[in-house]
């Protein structure tokens, strides 16, 4: 049974802070930091934005584009590592907002930066098994970076929603596979405000090992080569890792560029790959093939072999803002405003 993408939607907050602005505060070289990390600015959620609002916006955009009624969606899964509630599902709120309630299943997912793609796989399984006709998979985050930590330059916010089904497809997902190990490269314990990470350990033995293995497995399983794909989307914790991992797998910079958003909006964590894929779907044409590999610390990778089909021409892609239009729609803020919006200023008073 062919399963694929029925619609998609995205949301990127309007506020941006530049890497040079952060570097100035912490006594680092403001001229070199952007190039060093491949991240020149990042999105910042406003005081009235969180994973729920971002996920709702992305989901509504997806529903508006395909013009399906909300009640056909029988599963909503939201992958994030910054759910507003420790106990109370984001997915239920999103389901309510798109009028999918009450006859559906919903749950929150967490697998660092790949919880969104894990949700896609779950929806694929349910659709493929005939349990449901449509399932909504969302990756959304308002990620955290401790003041002065390297993560502060990249940890940003965004959301993307993918409606998975078997009818009205805009793209077929030909195959998916995963690669998972217990690799402690990045973690945040219950109650901690900011995650900890293993510095350079997050590179070769974590990001690169998993993406390379998963990506190679996918191509082996479907007997494809990098040159078979028009686009390649990788998890993008900074601007450099995805370019390097693409090169190691045999992809070109041209294949990666359309889905590489981190240099301007930072690492949107669970939303990073779904947003990169959304940016590609904004411009993709029927027949074009997309290679996608997500990565989540802890650690694992999910890879997808996607082919765009004729149905994309019928989707009302311009009915809601494109990823590029949301990238262009920006307001630069200073560090003080950023610190206030991200809750980094202690207000005093009773605790």
């Amino acid at each position: 049974m062919v399963v694929g993408i029925v619609s998609y939607g995205a949301c990127i907050p309007r506020y941006r802070i530049e890497s040079s602005t952060i570097a100035r505060v912490w006594g680092q070289n403001p001229d070199g930091i952007g190039k060093q990390l491949g991240v020149f600015s990042k999105s910042v959620p406003s005081s009235d934005e969180d994973v729920v609002t971002l996920a709702v916006e992305a989901a509504r955009s997806a529903m508006r584009r395909c013009r399906l009624p909300g009640n056909v969606v029988k599963a909503v899964y939201v992958g994030s590592e910054s759910h507003p509630y420790a106990v109370k599902p984001t997915a239920g709120i999103v389901a309510e907002a798109i009028e999918a309630t009450p006859d559906l299943t919903a749950a929150d997912f967490e697998f660092a930066c790949k919880a969104g793609t894990a949700a896609v796989q779950t929806c694929m399984g349910m659709v493929g098994a005939g349990m449901i006709d449509y399932g909504m998979a969302i990756g959304a985050d308002t990620s955290q970076g401790a003041p002065g930590d390297a993560l502060e330059y990249s940890a940003s916010a965004g959301a993307a929603a993918l409606l998975i089904g078997k009818k009205n497809l805009i793209a077929t997902i030909e195959h998916t596979c995963s690669y998972t190990t217990d690799t402690p490269d990045f973690w945040r314990r219950e109650g901690q405000s900011y995650p900890q990470h293993g510095g350079r350990f997050t590179g070769a033995p974590a990001y690169f090992k998993h993406i390379l293995a998963c990506g190679k497995n996918l191509m082996k399983q479907v007997s494809s080569r990098p040159s078979d794909y028009k686009y390649a989307v990788f998890h993008q914790p900074n601007g450099k890792f995805p370019v390097r991992v693409a090169e190691e797998l045999g992809f070109t910079a041209e294949q990666v560029k359309p889905g590489l958003l981190t240099p301007v909006i930072g690492n949107t964590y669970s939303a990073a790959v779904p947003l990169g894929l959304s940016a590609v779907l904004d411009i993709a044409r029927p027949g074009e093939r997309i290679f996608v590999t997500a990565y989540g610390s802890g650690a694992g990778s999910d890879a997808f072999d996607i082919t765009v089909v004729e149905g994309i021409e019928k989707l009302d892609r311009t009915g809601t803002p494109s990823v590029q239009s949301m990238i262009d729609r920006k307001v630069l803020i200073d560090y003080a405003t950023y610190a206030k919006l991200r809750g980094k200023i202690e207000m005093g008073g009773e605790s």
Binding site: Q28, N29, G199, R200, F201, P205
Partner: protein, 388 residues
């Protein structure tokens, strides 16, 4: 004192060895040395291990016993000792292993150095490296090993006109050497502009002026001369093993631009070996920073005080120059797993003297020198090895 020979050597590659624990590394290097020497574990009378900071880096002390246990030596009740002298721990272990054979106490010993540094965040490692300074008067107030070297560099520039480019040239040279060493952490050349433009660590030193954080282990087998002559393979005479010390605190020294411990250790080493400086064909020196190498070649007496920068700039210390320095890539490019460094330097001498250094081979290498410093210069070792 009896004649002492290096009869075998083994080391792991240096670098970010995520898949290997300290015990894995120690055993890999030790077994390599034993195999190279053509001996078996039943020939080993004692094990000496140089390690600076495993107690904090991996919460494990008693490293000698650990490695002996996992190498299968514990069942024979082989004595072990862990020797600590900051990042000169490797040379310190070698010195004591040498003394045990030279004195006649032992006939055949293994001496290794090992460090596992990448299990902790970089900032924690920097703090741990700074424990080699005077905690009460220096590191407690925020001084780090590299900030101390930065002060030395600034003063050297002030007193002797050493330039930023001359400092950078040391890193460029050592990376060009490291590119030829299969065991080196960094096997790629770098450009002068890259060194000058790298992120600042402590002005004037940048990221590429400083040795990296590394995992690795190195080991050699030492035997008495008589025992060595019964073994197959090449042997190398340890003609000098000398150590000198200085105040722990940099502020108590007579100069910020000289390590007297290095100078005195060198004078003693030359006397022990019965050699003059001009007979040294090549040297491995402690370039934990670029200024470290410049001061080392001066304090070892290979040039006048203040001319170390010019010596690097002129190419006289590069491969093919009159005194090749750090042909292995040095601490900068080969890597600096603290306790392993002193032994890795000895192994570079052995490779050069045995004409096994491949593309980085020094022509007609007969006498080599290794210089290992602990912390900011309170401990210095000079070893001289010769082809037999």
């Amino acid at each position: 004192m009896r004649e002492v020979m290096v009869v075998g050597a083994g080391m792991t590659p240096f670098g970010e060895l995520w898949e290997s624990s300290l015990r894995d590394l120690g055993i890999q290097a030790g077994l390599g040395a034993i195999r190279d020497a053509g001996i078996t574990s039943s020939d080993i009378d004692a094990l000496f291990v140089g390690n600076m900071a495993a107690g904090r880096l991996i919460d494990q002390t008693h490293i000698g016993a650990l490695i002996a246990d996992y190498a299968g030596l514990a069942g024979r009740n082989v004595p072990t000792v862990t020797v600590e002298g900051a990042d000169a721990s490797g040379a310190a272990a070698f010195h004591h292993a040498y003394l045990s054979v030279a004195s006649g106490l032992h006939d055949c010993v293994v001496v290794g150095g090992a460090e596992k540094m990448t299990d902790l965040p970089d900032a924690d490692v920097a703090d741990i490296m700074s424990t080699a300074l005077d905690q009460q008067w220096e590191s407690f107030f925020g001084a780090t090993l590299f900030s101390m070297y930065a002060m030395m560099a600034r003063r050297h520039m002030h007193e002797h006109g050493t330039t930023r480019e001359q400092l950078a040239q040391v890193a460029v040279k050592n990376h060009s050497h490291g590119a030829l060493n299969p065991q080196a952490q960094f096997r790629r050349p770098i450009k002068l502009e890259s060194v000058l433009g790298a992120a600042e660590v402590a002005s004037p030193l940048g990221m590429l002026d400083c040795a990296p954080i590394s995992d690795g282990a190195a080991a050699v087998v030492l035997c008495s001369g008589d025992r060595a002559r019964k073994l197959p393979g090449q042997h190398f005479r340890v003609s000098a093993s000398a150590q000198a010390g200085d105040t722990l605190s940099l502020g108590s020294r007579r100069s910020l631009t000289a390590f007297d411990a290095t100078r005195v250790a060198m004078e003693n080493a030359l006397k022990l070996a019965g050699r003059s400086r001009s007979e040294i064909d090549f040297a491995e020196v402690h370039d934990v920073t670029t200024i470290g190498e410049i001061m080392a070649v001066e304090d070892l007496g290979f040039c006048k005080k203040g001319e170390g920068g010019k010596m690097a700039e002129s190419g006289r210390t590069a491969l093919g120059g009159e005194l090749p320095v750090n042909t292995s890539g040095g601490l900068k490019a080969r890597g600096h797993p603290l306790g392993a460094t002193g032994i890795a330097q000895i192994i570079e001498l052995v490779e050069q003297l045995g004409c096994k250094a491949g593309k980085r081979q020094v022509k007609d290498a007969r006498v080599g020198l290794a210089h290992n410093v602990g912390g900011a210069g309170a401990t210095a070792f000079v070893h001289i090895l010769e082809a037999v």
